[in-house]
Symmetry: C2
Subunit: 336 residues, 2 copies
């Protein structure tokens, strides 16, 4: 298996990207890694932090996509970017997966419009997020690629998420739910109600609506489907709230002497909580609906996040997620 | 000033409602309170917890709206409910405000369709929430009344929120923002972009988009406008996340001996944090767009929440929020 890793993805590129790649490579020496980006800087980063690149291949790309670049401008304006190069390798079957921590919108746009393009019949590729509740991983999509969605797009997201959950996350019959503002049938907006109709008559294991408290606190479903605007708001609200609450707690604890001592005593516990909420344990999640495994992670990722994103790509390739998705989507189109 | 308080609103009615009313009445003896609900149970609750009702009036209502009642069924099926009675008093100018901790959907439906009905020209009344960032109160609407919205409805929400912020929360020129998944112009869904155009050419102090991290952590705006589906998801995600994170921290701290001791030492700090996130400090927020002050609070409210909801009603009446809103809306319709 060959995996292309964008070396220019993280906010602090290329060090976390390169070191993360080296770590993944040490843990899975059977996987051939290809780093894509500025060759001189990649080699320097590997030399500074580790004993060099070893047998990891480098493909040089002059240009890096910046976090603030507009997707539409990257498509045409930066044709030689590390993202373009990596996704082209994927299209040409020179690699089995592409992993990046870079500009999500740009990766989505290049993968959709340039290479490897959409799976036949897919209306819109969707961006997913993976997180665990009670130790069970969930896939949540769309978390930001499509702000305005139609019901049949959401139904396809459900199929794609379900295939990923069965082929990669290991569920025999993944439970699919729709994100809504109430669990009762009939709650939600027009889009939710419309999509519910489509899912009910599909062969998916559709279990109804779920509201935020169920999604984060209960093991009610394995696949959570949403339009990209609501999904993105939900993820951002979750992140903002945990950060806000944590910093408020820290400030209050540091305000007094006794509580500061208490703060030292609970440090281990707080670090474990931090670990539970740490996105680097998953590292990255798939862009679903394109003709190949594309894993996108957070720009703020550490080398551990990058390493785990590479592992996620390996699992997706091993699970044959894309070919199974292609089959299921074709069947779904025929059924509906 | 006379204020009608639904005594059958909270999940544990009538005790928190009645005691909350008594507390509010003690703090503002100039405000005449009218409790509405089951007279026998109201008197018993007052007797058991306090020295009786004193000079608080009671208007008997046989029926209470249940939290699980469907709004559409309450409208016709429970015409004698405490909500119907209270809102009719408001319509008849027998009271200056109506306060309830009961079924939000039902209160919204009765107020909109039965009494006191909409302010002339209002497309849809909106449910608001009030919370503070850096000690400054913000009004956020719609947080759940209208799941599918149009841009001109959101523009009206902006006007109504802005008037409430200036007349009740005390801002000279309230900053209005739109909830979005990115702060940059052009981010958001079609509805956000469409509404932004309307707000830009209005006389409101429109400051652009705000994403969740800004809404909760920074003092970027005084009025946050959203469709009811996204607004409801945001509030529910905030609540679910704080509850989830708090319970995770508690479990981790209790898992070890040293950390349990640490937990005791930080108890005061944690209680202060709890206070900051406690919705009972506001108690309730207005349903905006109907012809009268209607304050709705959470069913889980304690007597302190109820008391503060009554105080919110007093402030809204004193600020002449509804008459100012009526004027501003008429002007807004002419302008646009």
């Amino acid at each position: 298996m060959r995996i292309a890793l964008d070396a220019m993805g993280t906010d602090n590129n290329p060090t976390p990207d390169v070191i993360g790649g080296l770590l993944a490579s040490q843990e899975r020496p059977d996987v051939k890694l290809v780093l894509i980006g500025d060759q001189r800087r990649i080699e320097a980063a590997a030399q500074a932090q580790s004993g060099g690149l070893g047998k990891i291949e480098v493909i040089h790309a002059d240009i890096a996509v910046d976090m603030h670049d507009k997707p539409s401008e990257v498509i045409k304006g930066k044709p030689g970017s590390s993202m373009h190069v990596g996704l082209k390798l994927l299209e040409d079957n020179a690699v089995d997966a592409f992993v990046t921590m870079g500009n999500t919108g740009a990766a989505h746009a290049i993968a959709t419009l340039h290479a490897p393009r959409r799976i036949r019949g897919v209306k819109r590729p969707a961006l997913s997020g993976i997180f665990s509740v009670e130790g069970r991983p969930k896939i949540f999509l769309d978390i930001g690629a499509n702000s305005d969605c139609k019901a049949d797009w959401l139904a396809q997201f459900a199929v794609m998420g379900s295939v990923y959950a069965s082929s990669v996350l290991g569920y025999a019959s993944p439970r699919v739910c729709l994100l809504s503002n109430g669990e009762e049938e009939g709650k939600g907006n027009d889009l939710v109600r419309e999509t519910a109709k489509l899912l009910k008559r599909s062969s998916l294991n559709y279990v109804g609506n779920a509201e935020p408290k169920e999604i984060f606190m209960k093991d009610v479903a394995d696949v959570i489907v949403s339009d990209g605007f609501s999904g993105n708001l939900l993820m951002k609200t979750f992140e903002a709230t945990t950060r806000y609450l944590s910093s408020t707690i820290r400030t209050e604890i540091k305000a007094g002497l006794l509580s500061s001592i208490g703060g030292l005593l609970i440090k281990g516990s707080m670090n474990r909580v931090k670990g539970l909420f740490d996105t680097s344990t998953v590292g990255g999640a798939p862009l679903l609906g394109v003709q190949g495994v594309v894993i996108i992670g957070h720009g703020s990722s550490t080398e551990i996040g990058v390493k785990n994103a590479v592992h996620q790509a390996v699992k997706a390739v091993e699970g044959q997620a894309v070919s199974k998705m292609t089959q299921q989507l074709a069947q779904f189109v025929t059924e509906s």
